[in-house]
Symmetry: C2
Subunit: 485 residues, 2 copies
């Protein structure tokens, strides 16, 4: 079911790049995107093209793509006005360029003659066997080749998540949020108007990509639904695919149609199709990222039975509610687990799931309670509320006190070290019990520590932790259903 369109190595791992429309003007995209590629330390040669310049960013500039002294050019990044693009693309075809990213807008999304010009691009590309990204795209990223060919200055770290977005600004801004969360990305593409290469083509490529473990798709509309379903069904046999659909309502579809020209189609039909092919459906763009993080880092839960460990009762209540609403079970604890925790917590502990740590301060003990919970055969996954991120509370305390003395600063450092130790233990327990653990530092925007074993997965809120586990449970269930067939 693969086709040549999804053979996209020339786009993501090019040996070299012709940058057509390179500019010295810092306010022009022909400067900004080239700057992003250069600053991103792309591993191959970069050949700027501009008939009116000689040197840009300390690189010799060529008047045309034809003049570039390289026998084979893998990728052209094209940043010139839409009307000029067909001629440029023909020159690329003549030079034997393998793939092209057409950045500018002014094509089918504007209607009128833009539709015709875009069709022309597709024909030129198809005739030449050239891969075509866009037009009207904010670009692509690849971790392996260190290619940051995007409009905004987004620089995520390399990692296992690949993302295709039918909206460039939403896509690149999600990448920026991912960067702040330190989620690692293998590849990204803003598919733009999809004149030749559709979201399904990128997904097929990502599905085969050994650097990619988790796939994300922001979808506004599909011209070929069958193609997408086939691609997605194939992918989800091996890798999780997380989808967020823009244009779920009449208002959203109207906005989408004036935005990329995509026909958005009925939300019900899309959701049914996504479910049928085993994709995990995110309910917000941010959830898409948090799901990606969980899938990338955690083992899948065997089933839906969640254990909750909470430093305070209220968050346990809120999280139990959210679990039940999301179809996750909060089973009672086994007798063995209760007996183990009887030795750890004061006699008035609840003997129930959620396990309320009743405000005790001994953090070693909290970890022992977590271990007892994970050892329980009736528990498939754990949400840990308020045990991680203790240093942020202490730091807030110090900030509140202001002008804190050195002794108090030392106290903060000590707490940070304790956080690191606790999170290392969480990572060890995940490995030992093969059960996912999600930490929530309820009172803060907590960023997990860097430990020698990596970083724990943390959710910004209990509700997000629940969404992350629910997505993993759904996907595991889907995979199980495949095996049963």
């Amino acid at each position: 079911m693969d086709n040549w369109k999804s053979e996209l190595d020339c786009v993501f791992n090019p040996r070299n790049i012709a940058f057509i429309g390179a500019s010295k003007n810092v306010t022009k995209w022909g400067h900004i995107i080239l700057g992003n590629i250069v600053a991103g330390q792309f591993k191959g040669d970069i050949f700027p093209v501009n008939p009116r310049e000689e040197w840009i960013m300390e690189r010799k500039v060529y008047r045309t793509v034809g003049e570039i002294p390289a026998d084979e050019i893998d990728l052209a990044v094209i940043v010139v006005p839409s009307k000029v693009v067909p001629g440029i693309l023909r020159e690329c075809a003549d030079k034997g360029v393998k793939g092209a990213i057409v950045v500018p807008g002014g094509f089918s999304e504007e209607g009128g003659e833009g539709i015709e010009i875009e069709r022309e691009l597709a024909v030129i590309a198809e005739d030449a066997g050239m891969r075509l990204v866009g037009p009207n795209t904010m670009g692509v990223y690849c971790g392996r080749s260190s290619l940051y060919a995007m409009m905004p200055p987004v620089r995520p770290k390399p990692g296992p998540v690949a993302f295709v977005a039918q909206s460039g600004n939403l896509g690149t801004q999600m990448m920026s949020i991912g960067q702040r969360k330190e989620i690692g990305f293998s590849k990204f593409a803003a598919s733009g108007n999809e004149a030749a290469t559709a979201a399904s083509d990128y997904l097929k490529y990502f599905g085969r990509d050994p650097d990619t473990k988790v796939l994300l798709a922001y979808i506004e509309g599909l011209k070929d639904g069958r193609e997408f379903i086939d691609a997605a069904s194939e992918i989800t046999r091996e890798k999780p695919l997380i989808v967020f659909k823009g244009g779920q309502t009449a208002a959203g579809m109207k906005a989408a149609s004036s935005h990329t020209g995509a026909m958005a189609g009925s939300a019900q039909i899309y959701n049914a199709a996504f479910k049928q092919c085993g994709a995990v459906i995110a309910s917000t763009p941010n959830e898409m990222l948090d799901l990606a993080w969980a899938f990338a880092e955690l083992p899948l839960p065997r089933s839906n039975r969640v254990g909750i460990l909470t430093w305070g009762g209220g968050w346990g209540v809120v999280t139990a509610d959210a679990c039940e609403k999301a179809g996750l079970a909060i089973p009672p604890l086994s007798e063995n687990t209760i007996a183990a925790i009887d030795k750890l917590l004061p006699p008035y502990w609840s003997r129930n799931n959620p396990i309320d740590l009743v405000g005790t301060l001994d953090r070693d003990n909290h970890i022992k309670c977590l271990e007892a919970l994970l050892a329980d055969d009736g528990i498939d996954a754990a949400i840990v509320l308020g045990v991680v991120g203790g240093s942020t509370l202490v730091t807030a305390h110090v900030e509140t006190m202001m002008g804190a003395p050195a002794a108090v600063q030392a106290f903060v450092e000590h707490f940070k070290e304790v956080d690191r130790q606790i999170e290392t233990r969480l990572l060890e327990l995940t490995e030992q019990y093969k059960k996912p653990i999600i930490g929530v530092a309820v009172a803060s925007d907590y960023k997990p520590c860097h430990t020698e074993k990596g970083r724990i997965v943390a959710a910004p809120t209990p509700h997000m932790a629940v969404r992350m586990l629910a997505g993993m449970v759904d996907y595991n269930k889907y995979r199980d259903s495949l095996e049963e067939d």
Copy 2:
């Protein structure tokens, strides 16, 4: 409908405090809470009580509350083991103390004799006409008296939001998140086991409080539902009341019952009751805070017609979807508005709501588009996506570039100044058009600038902006329905 139990000035605005169970040990609550009160610069006298100490925090310590050399004591904060509390409370009654906060747990929430002891406290308090907060409470806060009598080191700034929480840890941690968001609070109480003073009593008091404009309640269970409904119905005639219910599911109710001993009751009944009395129902604790922020700072929208201004198409799609799902309308723009924006944006702009700024960079122009949108009689409120918080993107850029030269830093400063100017204009436009505007800096955890006119209201995500407006629309509709009756 008021009763003496809701006359809580002695608790929130005490002239002085007897702190019973004061400790020198930094790991004891008797030290931590006293430290929070002292560091919070409480405006009245503080009398530590402890039979075994002479001086604590440079204050003379009294052996018993009876020995304190003050004729009238407004508030006792009691931090001693549960079994000792009845005796202490009697001493307080003998001394004529007007109100008491009983911090420790070990009462009805543990069952057994704890239930009896708690009943005893209620009788002592009632006989003496003493207000009783708790037991099993994390304390109270009041901005006017600068009283930070809470277990955690939370120090929100004074402002118009009052909050009662039936979970101390959830409540104080929400206050901590509010502090980081710079939401101003007038008062807070963790109602604990509610032996004598129930959530409804605090709400009645907040309802009459001239410092309070918006009320929040985290509710796990109500012993007297009628009392709550009567209180809430009275309050919502004048002030918005935002409620979040913990224990909405079987799992959540079970957790709540082992946590505070409250009977959680059916979620459907609670939700129907909350709606009936005009309360706004939040779907997560975080949403409660963002709703509070919006209600505290913005004019109510006349109706549900939202205009969306977006720097990029995808976020407009996502936001339009969220609006429609939340019952908000995205009406088409009037001819006048289209004509006005025709002069501002490139000819290929969508002529539609959302208004897609199609990636233009002239930020003055963005504000002019917003003004045209607000001038449209068919629009009651605006969500502005990506126009605010531009400096965070530039800052991210500089951080990505690393070792950025001084010139680039100056560029960031310039962008921050532009942000300030834009946000000042947003505040002026809100005043001029009497329509709420919510900003979303989609790619970042944006904190609005401090301008001479104050701070704009910003949502962390488009979905939250929609929830904020939807809550305001609901409340305004409720108020309108009262006038019609």
